[in-house]
Amino acid sequence: MEVIDKRVVIGKRVAQELKDGDYVNLGIGLPTEVANHIPEGVRVFFQSENGIMGAGPAPTEGAEDENLINAGGGFITAIKGASYFDTCLSFAIIRGGHIDLTVLGALQADQCGKLANWMIPGKMIPGMGGAMDLVTGSRKVIVAMEHCDRRGNSKILDNCSLPLTAKNKVNLIVTERAVIEVTSDGLLLKEVAKGYTVEDVISCTDAKLIISENISYF
């Protein structure tokens, strides 16, 4: 599957988790794809942590406003009924439990529901930005990522080996191959992407999986 197709599969599936009226923060990169697949009849508000609630889609070429960007530095628009605020209030919203759903990318996620997404020691240290606050404060956290890294190694592990983003648990892991819920018993495989079998997912996943009795396909 092409990277672009994977993004679409993941984005579409995560979008099914959106509820009408949700306040949502989409991380940088892959998670932004979610905004393109909002189910009909569902209205959600997108926050960008630099300081806007009600972020709209990217502007058409030539209509960019140099003072209107999202947390990834991309140009955005503002919906009718948007609001601007300082970044400190923006993180008060996040840490204070006022965001219904955060969707983040990750380098690794593990069977305890921990994730690592901000540095590879000795190699790449972009910094945590707002990720630690988002995972700590959001009511629900979804990790949206490719199932394996570029070398084909599973990104879903028994234990994250990279520095953690938070000790708080993510709730759901969505990849282009599977939907996995983090439960108190471990990782529960609930859904498998069309074109894959349960065995495919098990074989490309390092972490131990509990298999749901009612696997569905997406």
Binding site: F45, M53, K80, G81, Y84, A92
Partner: protein
């Protein structure tokens, strides 16, 4: 998403024994209509969090006078004899808290913090029973978050997404209390369409607001 309800419906959401933050100061910027309905309903044993207990016949003082309140966290009761009398008669429990501290405690709850360190109150009765923490050679009091079941706030105008703007000094504690309760209800003079309040001017983003009530 924010819902528009009547003042009576708003008051009915609150059960006896629950805690309420009341925005407003000296009856300016108070959710008057909802307070009147609470009086009407007679909801009792309320825990009140408010900057000052206003006047005996105005603002939150109405509920104190009507003996619907069992405990109060506030910074000032000097304008309301009913509060002072009920306190002296042990009918009501009053925690007096420095105003700046009270507001930081409320903000802490809204912002997901475990509290703040403040120099205010050190060396006074306010410090009694509290943890003193030294930071870089200076002492501070640890003040914990204060949240509530409900925040009843008052704004000038709301749009249909719950974005709020305030009028002059009627802003006071309202924007902070809006962040710190399980359910926030805003009584407003006017409700307009989304987009009619410029995004730059919004003081309280709708994410903090659950219900809107139009002032009578």
């Amino acid at each position: 998403m924010v819902k528009i309800i009547s003042a009576k419906e708003a008051a009915s959401l609150i059960k006896s024994g629950e805690s309420i933050m009341f925005g407003g100061f000296l009856a300016v910027g108070s959710a008057e209509t909802i307070i009147e309905e609470l009086k009407e309903l007679g909801t009792s044993d309320l825990e009140m969090i408010v900057i000052a207990t206003d006047y005996e016949d105005k603002g939150v003082g109405i509920l104190v006078s009507n003996k619907q309140v069992s405990s109060i966290k506030t910074s000032h009761i000097g304008t309301n004899k009913a509060t002072q009398n009920q306190m002296n008669n042990n009918e009501i429990k009053v925690d007096l808290i420095p105003q700046g501290t009270l507001l930081e405690q409320i903000r802490s709850a809204g912002a997901g913090l475990g509290g703040v360190l403040t120099p205010t109150g050190l060396g006074t009765v306010v410090a009694e029973g509290k943890q003193v923490i030294e930071v870089d050679g200076k002492e501070f009091l640890l003040e914990k978050p204060i949240s509530a079941d409900f925040a009843l706030i008052r704004a000038k105008k709301a749009d249909k997404y719950g974005n709020l703007v305030y009028d002059k000094t009627a802003r006071n504690s309202n924007p902070i209390m809006a962040t710190a309760a399980k359910i926030t209800i805003a009584e407003v003079d006017e409700i307009v369409e989304a987009g009619e309040i410029p995004a730059e001017d919004v003081v309280t983003p709708g994410v903090f607001v659950d219900y809107l009530v139009l002032k009578k």
